[in-house]
Symmetry: C2
């Protein structure tokens, strides 16, 4: 059968390899990894590759993605705070969720009781990034007290998220807020706090330095399993693959044209006024993919002599002047994808997905 | 039944109204409108709203979207240059396509002959924006000569695109290149050039000034039908609706917190180092939607006293300090969407679509 384009090839073996690597590292320091699959929009294939790598809990940010994963052999965690309007689905399709509002948790408890389940609650604590989580310690204690009273939910532990909205790095200092609260909860309510879910891939930099506090026993990893890269300090984990996701797309136009647009400039299709340098004539190619499906800043051509010039919703425009390969209309160009480009391409229904074992 | 969130409400009556308005304006100057539906990813409902407004040709940039529109009562135009690998689908699901490469057109002709159809070709001419199109006049004439020889395709006319990649405005001067070529083609090959497809919504600014050249008899309109706005000069067409697309999403967290993140800043989830002003404590809300589904720069809260502070892939964070409304967890906030946010939200499978008659 003819291959269809544009297409993302996902190398499942590479994802399993990366996962095994991180599971081993984390096991040695007493940390369990939640395998965050959200960048794939709920791909069953990738979730299974994570499970094969040793993951026991799969995390997704959208309950619709977890619906599609109902038959995989892992516990399921909803990473984004649940919507009240969606509480019935949350308890049906996930086992654990991250929460910060007692009103929502109360509704989850009601819906759990209806179906005879007990839903696990991780209470999110905001340690400074100012996305989700209870900020005030007294509020946190009051919320835990109420959670314990509810019959349909179980208090599983505390969690936090960093390096997202506010760009705040996880450190021994800000994570200490979780430890303080853990101790207070255990003393005040005479219960054991099972889980301290200390962050996402950005916490890997603490592991690298041997500075992840030992009370943290869970991390929610996506990027690091998919790409082997630690974004906050731009390092890589040894012996991991960065190219598990590859985009292939077809050349639909190839012509020698000027390098600088001719006429009166206004805004482009995305509202910016573009600026161009005059480099004389160049060999320009257009590929059948655009900003609807990918993000130009988060991808690069595998042929290093090709440069991305720009794009619109449906097109990317490339400079092929300096490549040694003799491309023609209908030929396929390949790109390595980074996080945001993976997210966009997995979201777009106009990109074929091909899973390599 | 409970409404599901997040949800985009599309007011089809408003789109039909905007379309009628533009069809009337264009009819009076001898211009036919292609109704560009691509921002909706092939919505049958919106395509029919455009048809009800007087549109006879529906345009999409992806052939997969046209597949889903096979039963609508209009001619179908593929706006993006076809992929050779996809030529069979192109002639099967579209009647007209925009082209610039004879190799692709030859393949379209072959595939057309196989199914006994005649596919119409509009030859794209690059008048300066440097996206798709033949740049050189001699090349254009040679390409037309070859198109005429092919049995499976029909030369329908010339087209151009502006205000996309290079941000070049359509003007009487740059459009004149099409007219010159039209005259040459008609003289040299003794044929009539039926269609001069002179651009997209950005050409509306020429209509406003009464300066659209009279040889232009087709325009491909999307934005102006959906939003009634002329982006290049930031004006609006009288008596049109800008709010045909409305986003509704639920509050999943609502708390008083500081305004400035606390700790050592690095990059956020999208690779930027965010900067924040300290405004003291504020009432912050998180809504269940993020940059996977929308674009923060292309939307605004309908409650004007709410400010968007930022977001990550799955969250938007809002300042509710100054609103007079008494919002709670589970309440629904409304946003007006502009072009890129409409595109993202229609692309996301995690947003419910609700069509209002």
């Amino acid at each position: 059968m003819t291959k269809r384009y544009p297409r993302v090839e996902v190398d499942l073996g590479k994802i399993t390899h990366n996962t095994k690597k991180m599971v081993d590292i984390c096991k040695s320091i007493g940390v369990e990894i939640v395998g965050v699959n959200k960048v794939t929009c709920g791909s069953v294939e990738v979730a299974n590759a994570l499970i094969e790598g040793g993951i026991k809990i799969i995390g997704e940010s959208r309950i619709e993605a977890l619906k599609g994963l109902k038959d995989i052999k892992a516990e399921k965690m909803l990473l984004r705070l649940p919507m009240i309007s969606n509480a019935a689905d949350v308890v049906k399709f996930s086992d654990i969720s991250l929460n910060s509002e007692i009103k929502t948790i109360t509704k989850l408890s009601e819906e759990s009781l209806k179906i005879g389940k007990k839903h696990k609650i991780i209470l999110m604590i905001d340690v400074g990034d100012l996305r989700e989580g209870v900020f005030d310690e007294e509020d946190a204690l009051k919320t835990v007290e109420k959670i314990i009273e509810l019959k349909g939910v179980e208090f599983e532990g505390l969690g936090t998220n960093l390096s997202c909205f506010g760009g705040i790095m996880p450190t021994e200092e800000n994570l200490e807020k979780l430890n303080r609260l853990k101790t207070k909860i255990e003393e005040k309510f005479d219960i054991k706090v099972n889980t301290i879910s200390g962050g996402n891939s950005s916490s890997t930099h603490l592991i690298q330095k041997g500075k992840l506090p030992n009370f943290v026993n869970q991390l929610r990893f996506g990027t690091i399993l998919m790409l082997g890269t630690v974004e906050v300090n731009d390092t890589r984990i040894d012996d991991t693959f960065i190219d598990a996701y590859k985009l292939k797309t077809e050349i639909i136009e190839l012509k020698k044209k000027p390098s600088k647009p001719i006429g009166t400039a206004s805004v482009d299709a995305f509202g910016s006024v573009p600026v161009f340098e005059d480099k004389g004539d160049m060999i320009r190619a257009i590929c059948a993919i655009g900003r609807q499906d990918i993000d130009l800043d988060w991808m690069k051509p595998i042929d290093e002599n090709i440069e991305i010039l720009g794009g619109s919703s449906d097109h990317i425009i490339l400079d092929l002047t300096h490549t040694n390969n003799n491309y023609d209309i209908g030929d396929v160009l390949e790109f390595e994808l980074n996080y945001v480009a993976i997210l966009r391409s997995m979201t777009s229904q106009f990109i074929y997905k091909d899973y390599l074992k």
